[in-house]
């Protein structure tokens, strides 16, 4: 490889990594945390079968899953200003990613809740607990263990999906790379470089997933 290319790669590394640390990671972390809260609420409403609210949840999931994430980003960022709702790029990206992931994860968590044996709930009632106590102390912990691997999957997918935020002017890793490519005309090397940084982030998350699974598996057969 030429010395010039090495120079570009080394020079660009912090310029890509820093937006990764200051934008991609916070964007993912905040969006995913909000998505989990939303997903748990949406899943619990359906699990409990709350009238009307349950239909609202199905509607929300139907809309989100039926439309592309990029279209959702465009509607909120480019579309809403048309009716006077203007949101800055970063919060806009968080909003869209959180609502998008919330819908998918709600389904994951709902399935995990439904997989908890009915007898666990009945035993909870029989020792005197009410529905909320049973959910909090028995059902949700068991469901989260089941849902942990697929949710980790979603988190890892989201790290990469945040690159879509480049389309609404969030200068995250991909956009930073695009800018350097525009200056240096080295697309292959630079896109490989940013790809590697994504891979690095996801590798760390995969490791964390393993640690998490180990800790959650304390009560299942070894």
């Amino acid at each position: 490889m030429s010395e010039r290319l090495w120079g570009i790669l080394i020079d660009s590394f912090p310029k890509i990594l820093i937006p990764g640390l200051t934008l991609t990671i916070p964007l993912t972390a905040i969006s995913f945390a909000l998505a989990m809260i939303l997903a748990l609420i949406v899943a619990l409403i359906q699990f409990a079968g709350v009238r009307f609210l349950k239909d609202l949840c199905r509607f929300y999931i139907w809309i989100i899953r039926g439309t592309p994430l990029l279209v959702q980003l465009y509607i909120v960022f480019f579309g809403l200003p048309g009716i006077g709702i203007i949101i800055d790029p970063f919060p806009c990206a968080i909003l869209v990613f959180a609502f998008n992931e919330g819908a998918y994860s709600a389904e994951t968590i709902r399935a995990a809740l439904e997989a908890v044996p009915r007898g666990q709930i009945e035993a909870g009632y029989c020792v005197g607990m009410n529905w909320f106590q049973i959910m909090r102390r028995i059902v949700i912990p068991q469901a989260l263990r089941t849902a942990f691997p697929p949710l980790s999957n979603s988190l890892i997918a989201m790290v990469k999906d945040t690159s879509l935020a480049a389309n609404i002017t969030v200068a995250e890793m991909l956009m930073s790379t695009q800018r350097i490519v525009a200056r240096t005309y080295e697309p292959l090397a630079l896109y490989l470089e940013v790809g590697l940084i994504y891979l690095l982030f996801c590798t760390v998350l995969t490791k964390l997933q393993h640690v998490g699974e180990q800790r959650l598996n304390t009560y299942v057969a070894s």
Binding site: Y125, C126, I138, Y219
Partner: protein, 240 residues
């Protein structure tokens, strides 16, 4: 006055009448065996009594307080369960809790007992069923018989006025039923009020003081154990 009285309980499941017009009463210290062929509604009856299932009609009088089983509210159901314990055929131990936590959970969360008191009480009942050494393991590493003994300890921990058992040994290997039955026998001897659905006819004969049999969703016989087995002769071989 009876500790528990049930009047005219009826229940349909999936469009089929399972229980019709069941009336019975349980005196303090009674050990009532409920017998009957498979599918007759024994489990359904116990579940209705502990409000795991909503009866279509009927009245339940527990400790002098009357409850309309059809219109019971969650709060009222919870209040009734504060006086009862339930032992499941399939154990239903909390999988994400240790043996000790399985017992303390209800005491702390539902009965607002202090943690220290709850642990002390849990250790007491675990000693009673001979499983104190298993206090910190998870249910997954227990044998079936041990699981059921924890199930009994859990039901017992809150000092219920009445204990329901739904075929507590039916999910066990034959060689493990003995340890569970012996715990139950001790409880009966201590004067615990128990209602036991069982297919263990010889256990019913030895331990219960009353036998209720169900047939076609109704109470067929309700008599003291001795009379029941004398009239029936010595046909002791499970289901009729």
């Amino acid at each position: 006055m009876s500790l528990l009285e049930v009047r005219n309980l009826s229940k349909a499941l999936g469009g089929q009448t399972v229980l019709s017009d069941i009336s019975l009463s349980v005196e303090p210290g009674d050990c009532v065996a409920i017998l009957g062929p498979s599918g007759v509604g024994k489990t359904t009856l116990l579940r209705c009594l502990n409000l795991l299932e909503r009866a279509d009609a009927g009245e339940l009088i527990l400790d002098g307080v009357s409850h309309d089983l059809k219109h019971i509210r969650p709060k009222e159901a919870a209040a009734i369960r504060m006086h009862t314990g339930f032992v499941f055929q399939e154990f239903n131990l909390f999988l994400n809790k240790t043996v000790l936590e399985n017992i303390t959970e209800g005491l702390i969360v539902a009965r607002k007992m202090s943690r220290a008191d709850a642990v002390q009480r849990a250790e007491e009942v675990l000693r009673h069923v001979g499983l104190l050494d298993k206090r910190d393991v998870y249910p997954v590493s227990l044998s079936g018989g041990q699981k059921q003994r924890v199930g009994i300890a859990r039901a017992l921990a809150a000092k219920p006025q009445i204990l329901y058992f739904d075929e507590p040994t039916s999910a066990l290997d034959p060689e493990l039923t003995g340890e569970v039955l012996s715990v139950m026998r001790d409880l009966a001897q201590d004067g615990m009020t128990m209602v036991i659905v069982t297919h263990e006819i010889s256990f019913a004969r030895d331990v219960s003081n009353r036998v209720i049999t169900l047939r076609d969703g109704r109470v067929e016989t309700d008599t003291d154990t001795q009379t029941y087995f004398t009239q029936k002769g010595v046909t002791v071989n499970g289901d009729r």
